[in-house]
């Protein structure tokens, strides 16, 4: 027990030392984390003191904290980190201790999980999925009374692509061919350029596809991946897990989180001068956590940059259907590349899409794909091989991905209701984005860029020196300190900016725009009140 406590204290000291001398999160710092200390920010240990036994300090067991893969220890993922843990405990406690808190519920604004906050699924999609799950429904006459005609029709068409209508069978490791055909057609309809079903790999959400590419690209710490800062921490985590180096490029907050090619070039050259072989560039468009939608010209510059420098372009486009501003439009990187005249032999591009976002928000289904273009066939074989070790992605998710890429069309039975659901969700998101953005901008010392797309706001808080000192005294990062105080005062869960990366000395947090409209006023009020009293307490 004693050794554990010493380790724990050591961890806290190491962490605060990092805060003092390296204001950036560990995925930006050059040294790997020492094995013996574990960041308290990630220690869920506080909940399980009773389970602490001699086994934790017994070095005779083969698998202990000291002996597990150091890459596991190194990687971090703040979206479901310390703050969420505290929130879950509060939520438990609220059940029996309602009066102890100035709020009556926890509102999770830490994660882009729309349906957990009341967003409904698109009815047509779920009708089709239900019919595919229990295909014998299609043989019953009563079914016509409960399901729309076009959902029945679509289910038949999908099942025809699956031998024996067997949705419980492993499919082709890239996903069911007929569904890939539909997705390729959807990509072509979106972009105006052809897509090859053989370029598509259906995966359990977009995240496993990202992991596959990182595995392929990274052989050692000498291999680097250019990532935007701030970034969605899947990238930093997967680079750490696969033993590579993250090469940061900073998005410019002053210009709406714009991407400067000159900065990209500078970071690339600096990395190369240190002996790092930079393999790829990650671009998240629309951005997460930053929400910016890239201008087409910017995208052209990026494509040209990748071509010139021999980088694989990893285009995370999971928020392609979340654009809220009339002056911006989503253009896929594939479209931009092809419009520039670049074909298969000119540029290596991997585009990621998911069923988790957009207006469908089907996170729990785990559906997504990557479209892989511009690789030689021997490389393609290796990608296929890796996909085959896991056999295939879940069939229901594959079906949903095909529905997302080919939703009801004008004239279809469900078209009107589908469009009403879709437009309702998207216009509500735009409204909530604006309301929250305005509310944040009205706070003292807070500036917030508009959410042009995606599902998040990433306000910057100008923390007074007193607050920073108070945070350090508590051995917490200043933004985490603010977020914890916010949680305890309002029940709202957000993620500290250090989880995403930020310019050292600046503080942010990421908040989703996803709570239902009727909850937004209360959130705004509580946030405003909290911020005022926080500033009253810490103002210089």
């Amino acid at each position: 027990m004693r050794r554990f406590l010493i380790n724990q204290a050591k961890g806290l000291v190491d962490h605060s030392r990092r805060q003092h001398h390296h204001k950036s999160p560990s995925f930006l710092s050059p040294q790997p984390r020492p094995l013996a200390s574990s960041p308290p920010a990630l220690s869920r240990f506080f909940s399980s003191t009773s389970e602490m036994s001699a086994s934790d300090s017994t070095s005779s067991l083969p698998v202990t904290l000291d002996s597990i893969n150091p890459k596991v220890l190194k990687c971090e993922y703040a979206v479901r980190g310390e703050i969420v843990n505290i929130a879950q405990k509060l939520q438990e406690d609220l059940k029996t201790n309602k009066d102890a808190y100035p709020f009556d519920e926890i509102i999770y604004c830490n994660i882009g999980n729309p349906q957990s906050l009341g967003q409904l699924p698109i009815k047509f999609f779920r009708e089709v999925l239900a019919l595919c799950d229990h295909a014998s429904l299609l043989d019953e006459s009563e079914t016509h009374g409960l399901f729309s005609t076009d959902s029945i029709d679509r289910a038949w068409r999908i099942l025809d692509h699956i031998p024996g209508r067997a949705t419980g069978a492993y499919s082709h490791s890239q996903g069911i061919k007929g569904l890939r055909d539909v997705i390729a057609a959807g990509i072509e309809a979106r972009d105006g350029f052809p897509a090859d079903p053989n370029d598509i790999f259906l995966t359990d959400g977009a995240s496993p596809a990202v992991h596959m590419m990182m595995q392929l690209l990274l052989s050692s710490e000498k291999d680097g991946i250019l990532c935007p800062i701030p970034q969605y921490p899947l990238y930093s985590a997967s680079i750490a897990l696969h033993g590579g180096s993250l090469v940061p490029y900073y998005l410019d907050e002053a210009t709406g989180w714009g991407l400067e090619i000159s900065d990209l070039k500078k970071q690339l050259e600096e990395a190369r001068s240190k002996g790092i072989s930079v393999r790829a560039l990650v671009v998240i468009n629309p951005g997460n956590p930053t929400g910016q939608v890239l201008a087409e010209e910017n995208q052209r510059d990026i494509v040209n940059f990748c071509k010139q420098e021999g980088l694989v372009l990893l285009a995370d486009e999971v928020y392609q259907e979340n654009v809220y501003v009339p002056d911006k439009k989503f253009h896929s990187f594939k479209k931009v590349a092809r419009s520039l005249g670049y074909g298969e032999k000119d540029i290596s591009l991997v585009s990621f899409q998911s069923v988790s976002k957009g207006y469908y928000g089907e996170c729990g289904k785990r559906g997504g794909y990557m479209e892989v273009t511009g690789f030689t066939s021997d490389v393609r074989e290796q990608i296929y091989k890796m996909a085959s070790v896991n056999l295939c992605s879940n069939i229901s998710g594959q079906i949903l991905a095909s529905l997302v890429m080919s939703p009801p069309k004008p004239g279809d039975d469900s078209y009107d209701s589908y469009m009403a659901e879709r437009d309702g969700i998207l216009s509500s998101m735009a409204k909530r984005a604006k309301t929250l953005e305005d509310a944040l901008n009205s706070l003292e010392g807070v500036t917030c860029n508009r959410a042009e797309g995606a599902m998040y706001l990433f306000p910057r808080i100008n923390l007074p020196q007193k607050a920073i000192e108070a945070a350090e005294a508590e051995k917490t990062a200043p933004d985490a300190f603010y977020c914890k105080r916010l949680l305890n005062a309002t029940g709202v869960v957000v993620v500290p900016g250090s989880g995403f990366g930020q310019v050292p000395g600046t503080w942010h947090f990421r908040c989703t725009i996803l709570p239902q409209e009727d909850k937004i006023p209360a959130i705004v009020n509580r946030l405003t009140d909290f911020h005022k009293s926080f500033m009253d307490e810490f103002r210089n």
């Binding site: 220690s43 869920r44 602490m52 934790d56 005779s60 067991l61 083969p62 698998v63 904290l65 002996s67 597990i68 893969n69 596991v72 993922y77 479901r80 999980n113 349906q115 957990s116 019919l131 799950d133 229990h134 429904l137 009563e142 409960l146 024996g164 949705t167 419980g168 069978a169 492993y170 359990d204 959400g205 995240s207 392929l216 990274l218 921490p233 997967s238 790829a280 990748c306 071509k307 021999g310 980088l311 000119d346 540029i347 290596s348 089907e362 996170c363 729990g364 289904k365 030689t376 021997d378 290796q382 091989k385 890796m386 085959s388 070790v389 896991n390 056999l391 879940n394 229901s396 998710g397």
Partner: protein, 481 residues
């Protein structure tokens, strides 16, 4: 001149090294032939529904209702769904925080993990902690997560049975670890001799490898053997003494085709052994909805249960799981249903019991038909499939065939399997994909083709095999492609 972004040479070596024969050369050739119009019988992967096994009705009803919860509000829903399926759908929906479309806890829905823990407790007679059970997108993902935790570099060795299911070899390659093989004894019905273990470990250690973990697949894949209680005790004692974490792949625990050795979980044996073993051996046990009599491969549902891992390690595993956000919720519900199926008295019980029994009894019969069928073929010897879903006959290739294979640039069992495929449409996986003793050849097939088609398939195989043997028995040094 533009720099090449990613070519074969600059790919991660570990990716290039990894092999997964189950969907490798034979499968790709079979797919090609299928596209050309040839009838192919895919026996390369344990994929029951692809070979005609029907899904169980009750779980499909429940999950369909969970997919489309608005059905539950329709007054006519009772015409299409029995009342217990409706009740169960409501139950599982209440365990979620937003239905199938919301990310769950990264470890899986707490309510489902509780049901899994209760199942384990009923099965083994010992308590199980839901906090130490993580649901995953298929058992394979769980295996990868645990091995990723254990393997630090190529100095770390993982004991893996030979023959093995190549998920293990492929994952160890990808993670840059070292596979330490221990041979199962074909003459003892693929039994596990601890002396083989000792030898393998000693050899690995003499090469400077730190042996960290041991994999057992029980019932075995591809070999099908069911470990005896005594054998399991030996293994657990060995792991205790040698400080190895035991990875117990128990995905075939419901596929048992003999009565002498019923399934006993590694956890039960460990707990039965008492201290110091029960609190001193680290164990991770894996299970799935893909096998058994459910065969729901396409759902991607699995779990692992951790025993005696330090809390801080469990936290790190949780952290890595959280990066992938959550396992798919539909499959979690399938898992809940699998561990708490309809009970006697439930409306759907009779149909459920009938469907389940039908499948298991047929599998038992097919295991026998296939073993006997192989044993009736010239130069083929086949151990009985005690469990799992596969038959792994030994093919005694005559020197002439081995020579012909060499000239064709193929490993001998690959050569044989390709010829078998072209002649009969039967798509198998060569034994070299699983590992085997030097100079001994096998193939793996599944026992999954429909029972009524089995006799024809075995006849077709026998005809091909016996002709092949005649051809190459007399043609030493003469090769034909």
């Amino acid at each position: 001149m533009a720099l090449k972004a990613l070519d074969y040479d600059t790919l991660n070596e570990n990716v290039k090294k990894c092999q997964y024969a189950v969907r490798g050369e034979l499968y790709l050739r079979a797919s090609e032939l299928q596209k050309e119009g040839k009838k192919i019988i895919f026996t390369n992967v344990g994929n029951p529904h692809a070979l005609g096994q029907k899904p169980l009705t009750f779980p499909r009803q429940v999950v369909a209702l969970c997919q489309a919860p608005f059905l539950l509000d329709d007054p006519n829903v009772g015409m299409l769904f029995p009342a217990d399926a409706i009740a169960r759908a409501k139950h599982y929906l209440s365990l979620t925080s937003g239905g199938l479309g919301a990310y769950s806890d990264s470890r899986g829905l707490p309510g489902v993990r509780k049901e899994v823990a209760e199942f384990i407790q009923r099965r083994d007679g010992y308590p199980s902690d839901p906090e130490l059970i993580f649901l995953t997108d298929g058992a394979s993902k769980g295996v990868m997560q645990i091995l990723n935790c254990v393997i630090r570099g190529d100095g770390d060795g993982i004991l893996v049975p030979v023959p093995q299911y190549p998920l293990y070899s492929a994952t160890i390659s990808l993670l840059g670890g070292t596979l330490v093989p221990y041979y199962l004894d074909e003459s003892e019905n693929w039994g596990l001799d601890v002396n083989n273990l000792r030898q393998s470990v000693a050899q690995a250690r003499s090469q400077g490898i730190t042996v960290r973990a041991m994999v057992i697949i029980n019932p075995g894949n591809p070999t099908g053997q069911c470990l005896s209680e005594a054998n399991l005790r030996e293994i657990l004692k060995y792991c205790y003494n040698e400080k190895l974490v035991l990875l117990g792949d128990e995905v075939y625990q419901q596929n048992i085709y003999q009565d002498e050795r019923p399934f006993i979980s590694s956890k039960k044996v460990l707990m039965d052994m008492g201290s110091p073993f029960s609190n001193g051996v680290q164990l991770v046990s894996f299970h799935t909805v893909s096998k058994g009599y459910w065969g729901e491969c396409g759902q991607r549902g699995g779990y692992f249960e951790m025993t005696n891992l330090p809390p801080r390690v469990v936290e790190e595993i949780y952290k890595v799981a959280s990066i992938a956000l959550s396992p798919n919720v539909s499959a979690q519900i399938f898992m809940g249903l699998m561990v708490s199926p309809p009970k006697p008295g439930d409306i759907s019980y009779d149909q459920f019991a009938r469907e389940s029994k039908g499948i298991l009894e047929s599998l038992r019969r097919r295991a026998r038909i296939m073993t006997d069928g192989f044993n009736s073929c010239k130069n083929v010897v086949c151990n009985f499939t005690e469990g799992a879903m596969y038959s792994f006959p030994q093919i005694r290739l005559p020197p002439g065939a081995i020579q012909a294979a060499k000239q064709a640039g193929k490993v001998p069992d690959v050569f044989y399997c390709l010829k078998l495929l072209e002649a009969t449409g039967i798509s198998t996986v060569p034994g070299s994909g699983f590992g085997q003793k030097e100079g001994v050849f096998h193939l793996r097939t599944t026992i999954l083709p429909a029972e009524e088609e089995m006799p024809e398939i075995m006849d077709s195989f026998k005809k091909f095999n016996d002709e092949f043997m005649s051809q190459y028995d007399n043609n030493v040094g003469y090769s034909r492609m």
